[in-house]
């Protein structure tokens, strides 16, 4: 791997998150959708910085712009104005090849619907991104098995997605997202289709990956289990960051938010 890209690979995870290297930085991010004559301002100027090893949870009511924000920082969508830097590279200036490179090696994606490729076995699914990264077959197999072991599915490497449960599929998806040692894991409602117990398992794996592999994890979710797992919460409303808080600031009120509660109450406490 290019040393310039992986400068922070072996950096220590320091206590102060602001001292850690920056993975994602957005500047004045705006996104406007035009549908006929109506304009929808999905994002209305977001400045945010994500450091290496952050576990960030993005929450917000539907239509708040959180998905748009998520897609833009994942290089899956482009902003109307403003800039996104991933590993200090301006995503807006990348061409198709470079975007493919970025998605292949810098970012791992995890989806609500797993999105495994149906015709492939678990191992093949995990090794596909490695093939795109140019790894040879032996290295792919070795690393793929290691990743499957990491998510606890070593024995099921030859199974196809339809032969596995939702939780298992999501675990394969996580292994796949880690295929090329990305610095950023983007999770789009990773536990929404899973039951409580499995959701907790997935959360545990994400947490473990953050701790052991030093990967930044960004989750868009409605799942309150994440409140206890993440480092920071970001609330987005009407295309703006309404509130950003460390877990320590909200932990004492966890009992209150055990159910579905008004986010406004939390913000009052956090201030």
């Amino acid at each position: 791997m290019n040393p310039a890209v992986t400068t922070t690979a072996d950096a220590e995870l320091e206590d102060d998150p602001n001292e850690r290297p920056v993975i994602v930085r957005t500047v004045e991010l705006r996104k406007t959708y035009y549908r006929g004559n109506t304009e929808t301002h999905a994002l209305q100027g977001i400045d945010y910085v994500i450091h290496r090893g952050d576990f960030i949870c993005i929450m917000g009511p539907s239509g708040s712009g959180k998905s748009t924000f998520f897609n833009i920082i994942g290089g899956l969508d482009s902003p109307t104005s403003g800039r996104v830097f991933i590993d200090e590279v301006d995503v807006a200036q990348l061409d198709a090849h470079e975007l493919a490179y970025l998605r292949c090696r810098k970012i791992g994606y995890i989806f609500q619907t797993y999105n495994l490729i149906g015709q492939m076995t678990a191992l093949e699914n995990v090794t596909t991104p490695m093939a795109f990264a140019g790894l040879d077959a032996d290295a792919r197999r070795e690393r793929g098995m290691k990743l499957l072991d990491l998510v606890g599915l070593k024995e099921r490497w030859a199974h196809r997605p339809l032969e596995m449960s939702g939780g298992q599929q999501q675990r394969v998806a996580i292994a796949r997202s880690m295929a090329n040692q990305p610095s950023l894991l983007l999770c789009d409602e990773p536990t929404a289709n899973l039951d409580l117990k499995t959701g907790k398992e997935i959360l545990g794996i994400l947490r473990k990956l953050r701790d052991e592999q030093r990967v930044s994890v960004i989750c868009v979710t409605h799942d309150h289990k994440f409140l206890s797992a993440c480092d920071r919460m970001v609330w987005i409303r009407d295309g703006k960051i309404e509130r950003s808080a460390m877990r320590s600031e909200i932990e004492i009120h966890e009992a209150e938010v055990g159910g579905l509660s008004e986010l406004g109450d939390l913000s009052g406490v956090g201030g």
Binding site: N2, N71, F85, E88, V89, A96, R103, C104, N115, F132
Partner: protein, 707 residues
Amino acid sequence: MEQVAEKGIAVKKAVRDQEKLSFRRSFEFCVSSIRHRFFRSAVTLSVIVLAVAFLMNILTETIISNSVARGVQREFERLYVADIFAQRLARNTPRSTLVKELAKLKPEQPRWKELSRWSGSAAEFEQLIQSAKLEIEFTAFFDALDFGRKRRLVKRNDGDAIFEYLVDPTPQREFAQDLKSPEMAAVTIPHELPALWKFENDWPAYRAQLAALEKSIIAALDTVDARLGMPVEKALDAAANLKDPAAAQARRAELLTALTSAGFEVTADELTAVCADRHKLAALRLFRDYVPDAEFRSHWSDLKIPGDYKPEELLKHYITEEKVRKWVRDHAEVVATRTTTPLPVTRDELLTFSNAYRVLVQNAGRSIAHLSDGEVYKSERQKKFINYIDNPVFTEKWKTLGLPEEFSNENLLWYFNDNRAVRRWLLDTAASLPNPLPCSEDDVKSLAESYLRWVQKRGLQKVPLEPAAAGNPKFEALAAYLKDPEYKAHWDELGISTDYSPAAIMLYCSADEKSPQVIGYVESNARHIASRVKAPLPVTEDEIMEVGKMEEARTSVREMQAQLESRGTKTEGISERTFWLIAVSFLVCVVGIANAMLMAVTERFREIATMKCLGALDEFIMTIFLIESGLQGLIGAVFGVILGLILAVMRCGAAYGFYTSSYFPFVDVLKNSGVSTAAGMLLAMLAAVYPAWVASRMAPMEAMRVE
């Protein structure tokens, strides 16, 4: 900040060498994808198969039809040449045929040349042709008149007789007058009335000229015959039948010189063609002349083929249905037995001879057959009866009957069967005696019958058939005829105790209770013999089949050509209509495949988006879809070509019969298959380009949102 920017540039540079997947891996990916979506792929594939099969079918059918049309036309032209040629050599052509021929002649045709040679000066010949044309026109005019008008204008005359009738001035006047009446207003004579009168004026001269021409033709034919030493038709048959090519060549050369020196305009090529197809022509003609027989006509309904009996219709079904062939065989046998005389004698003669012989046999038999031989009576009652009549009373009373013979047991039994008076006499005499008859009348009767057989048996031994028949040629022929093994083979069916011999047949033919059966036996076996010794149909089945198939193919080809011509421009090979058909089928092919591929790509947008998130390049997406569609296109096209070809061959086979195989355009069909396969594959790839391009250009999240 500068440091950060520098780092960004370095990253950007490194990013340029994103790996491309090898073609092999892309290919493997496609194959696994097709296998995974086997059902969906099969649907796509079948769309391609059908589209290509349609295209292939239309193309192949056109090619085969054209090829068959050309081939059959060539063959028929040859046959026509032979037919027309045969007409030229016919002696007893009706005059009307000659007139028709003359009217149709064009200057410098071979026939024109030879006929002008035989009909005096050029001016005279020209005059003859003009008159012939007028005759045809006027005849058509009179034929078209309705019955009443015709009757009024020309009375009861018809055909040539009309012209004969109108030669005289009186009928001419009446004719002109009748024509003026109001009912005749709608009647218009071709070339006006004066032309008709002029024609009538020339009529006698014209007829004389025709007669002279006919005479000249016959004279020319006589010259040819004399030169060849045999009738020219026979000489042609002989030349056609010669197996050795050199000998046949020599024979044809001989024919050619004979014909040309007599004034016929014949070329060597024509003669060769005529000889080659002569047997086919003969088969066709014989079959056509033969099957109008009433036997076929009256039994046509047995076949349950819709429509009235027509020789052409019969020929059509003959070549396709074994049932019809068998029907023809059976009835041909009947015709054969009816048209020939199977027995050498008539039934009356048979009976006469049989009666005469029986008398001989019985007389001879009576002189040597005695009851005392003991073979006649079997039962006790019959023995008692013999004893019973051994009574002088019977001898006494016998005289009252006035029979020539003396009383004896034998004579009593002899007359008992045929003579009622004898029967009555026996019963009466027995009644007058104190003791009655020891048996019934039937017992006596059966005894009498056995006695008769006994007599006949002995007589047969005494009087052989041949000497009896000697002196009468017909009787001799009959005696010889009955020796045919057919009779021996079927003798037992009659259930007569006497063994088979021609003499026995003759004996039992008449005056026996079995005689109707025996006569039937003689006649029906004669039919068997006749059908055995003589081929019932004048031509072999193969010959008929050959001509029939040719006729069939020609009908199909004619229909096809009529169709093509009715649709306007007919270019070499492909008509405008066919061109449009091909264009439309091509369009169906394009639309079908494009739709199938579009569906196949659109339903996999999510997968494409995932692949892009995993770092797949746009090119990779394009590549896999192109490979996939190309692969499907190729497989589909191959199956489509096979399917289309089979269908086309089957359809053509049904329409043109075995001509499909004899004029099968292998090279063209092969070219065609190649074109169709390539078209199917390329179309499939082309149809996949657009959706694949759209899919590869889509932002991943957008693609994922498409459900």
